[in-house]
Structure formats: C-alpha cells, structure tokens
C-alpha cells in the first residue's frame, strides 16, 4: 500500500498566505510626552540629565540605565550633532516606511552623552563618514512623534 510520501510527492504544495494586522496605541509616558510635545510645538530636542553620573540621555528615559537613578532634570539639546555610526538599508521589510536605499545614523547631539537614532537625508550614501556633522531637519506638519524630525542632514562643509 502506498505511503503518504509516495502519494503526495508530485502534488502541488499548499501554502496559504496570511497577515497579522494589529492596530495599537502606544503610550509614551510622562517624560517622553514632554520630549514629543517639545519636538512638535517648539522644534526642540529634549534630553534628561542623571544627577549621579551626570550623563545627558536622549531621548529622555525615566530611569538611568547605568545608575538606576530616577531622572527628572530636562535639558534642551542642540539640533546639531556628530555621526557616531550608520548603516545603509537595502532591504524593505513590510514595516519599513522609507524606500531603500537609505541610511540610518546614530547621532551624538551636542550636549548629549548618548546616541540618537534617526534617518540621514540629503546625503550621498557613498559619502557618509563617521564623525561628520549633521543637523535635524523638522517637518512643517508635526504630529508629536519621532518622524517630526524628517531626517538629519550633513552640515554645510562637513563632507
């Protein structure tokens, strides 16, 4: 008697495409609300200073990741910074909102001690250099999310 393997060997495999689609709302919390409100209303980037290690962390978080201090001292940061590292994206996962190729950078804003991740724009992908100076470009229509900064672009003369 034929076993299943012999029976189905030359038959079409059944593969069902599907989706997991979940709309949801993310509450950013009190401190990050401050950050997004400032971004949206005043085009300002806010960080938070730890009273123990004196580091300025951006985006703000409520507890220091090194000394576990409760953080509350907000500081305004410059919208300019230095590129710490970057990556060029060539692949589009379904969640991506930009068309590749484009670059993500980690930027140390002037006055901050941590890296801030965002997209790099107005830049030739072959000419991105670690250490180059960049500045935040804000959207005209801002909605209180991280994309209120459209991208960071190289400062004139930094290439």
């Amino acid at each position: 008697m034929k076993k299943m393997g012999q029976e189905t060997a030359n038959k079409e495999p059944i593969v069902t495409p599907g989706w997991i689609i979940m709309p949801y709302r993310y509450s950013v919390g009190a401190l990050a609300s401050k950050f997004f409100v400032e971004l949206r209303d005043n085009k300002r980037i806010i960080g938070v200073r730890c009273s123990e290690c004196n580091r300025v962390i951006v985006p703000p978080r409520s507890v220091c990741n090194k000394c576990f201090r409760k953080l509350h001292e907000c500081v305004e940061l410059d919208c300019k910074g230095t590129l710490l590292t970057y990556t060029i994206v060539h692949y589009t996962p379904s969640c991506e909102w930009l068309k590749p190729p484009f670059a993500y950078g980690i930027i140390q804003l002037d006055g901050a001690d941590t890296g801030f991740t965002h997209v790099l724009g107005e830049v030739d992908l072959d000419n991105i250099r670690i250490g180059m100076r960049v500045e935040a470009m804000f959207k005209d229509k801002r909605q209180g999310n991280i994309l209120d900064i459209q991208y960071f672009r190289p400062l004139a003369g930094s290439l």
Partner: protein, 160 residues
C-alpha cells in the same frame, strides 16, 4: 531647564502588519487539495487504536502510531451533528484582517457523519435560539472556481 509637568500625554497610533506564509504540509495539504478539487472532507484513522483525526494527521493523537496510508482516509460529512457552539455578541479585532469581527458570529463544533471527530467551523445561523446541540448541519462550499485550498473553501455549516 527644569521639567515642567506636561498635561498632555502623548499616545501614538501604530499599525503592526506582518505578512506570513503558512505551509500546510503533507497531510493537511492533501486534505485542502481534496476540499478544493472534490469538495470532500477527509479524516484518517489510527490502524492500532481506531481514533480518527480531522484534518488527517501523520500520527495518532492518543497512541502515537503512524497513520501513513492515504488509501485508508475516509470521507466524512458534508452533513454532521452539532456537538457544541457559541455565538459571539461582542466584537473584537480579527488579527488576520485588522478589522473588527462582524457580529453576531457563531462557531460550531461539528461531528461529521462517518467518523467520531470534532470539526470546528463557522455556522450560518447566528440566532442562538435557533441553534440546538444535536441539530443536523451541512457544509456549504464555495463555488469550485473560487476555492483556494484553505479551510474557508467551506463557507460555513448551514442548518439542515
């Protein structure tokens, strides 16, 4: 700059949207091909203890004996007897579509004629007063040209 209390709390609307492909495998694949081509529902039977599986499975869920012979698959249904049911009156998010469930929505556990197995599917009847445990139901298939070899090639079970 000291932190001022911000009255406004920011909430961000997000959408998680992940495509995936589910491979039905050898046994369920054959079951779904039969649904599509012949409009027949199959179960398979353990050669050792006699327990049925629907959709057919490679291994008996009770005694773990292999059930490898295609010729021994038995056709069940399309009629059957309702073992249990529920009617959803409260809508919820359907993760496969991102839409809210259209209510009322009823699901039955059906014992198809031919084998003592439980088959879960949608019921056409959504009025709980008109659904009775023990009532006779029958699978309603999509027109053949619209079938896609998935479980919704059976649209629902209607009351006979």
């Amino acid at each position: 700059m000291q932190q001022k209390t911000t009255d406004e709390l920011i909430t961000q609307e997000m959408l998680l949207k992940i495509p995936y492909r589910w491979a039905a495998g050898e046994y369920v694949g054959e079951f779904l091909r039969e649904l599509r081509h012949s409009g027949r529902i199959y179960a398979n039977k353990c050669p050792k203890c006699g327990r049925f599986r629907c959709p057919p499975a490679p291994v008996c869920s009770r005694c773990h004996t292999r059930m490898e012979e295609r010729e021994k698959w038995v056709e069940v249904g399309p009629r059957g007897t309702l073992l249990a049911f529920f009617v959803a009156e409260q809508s919820f998010l359907v993760p496969t579509t991102g839409d809210m469930l259209e209510i009322p929505f009823s699901v039955g556990v059906i014992w198809p004629d031919g084998a003592p197995v439980a088959l879960w599917h949608k019921l056409e009847e959504t009025n709980p007063d008109k659904i009775k445990v023990g009532m006779r139901v029958e699978a309603v298939f999509k027109p053949e040209e619209q079938r896609q070899a998935n479980i919704f090639d059976i649209l629902y079970f209607k009351t006979v």
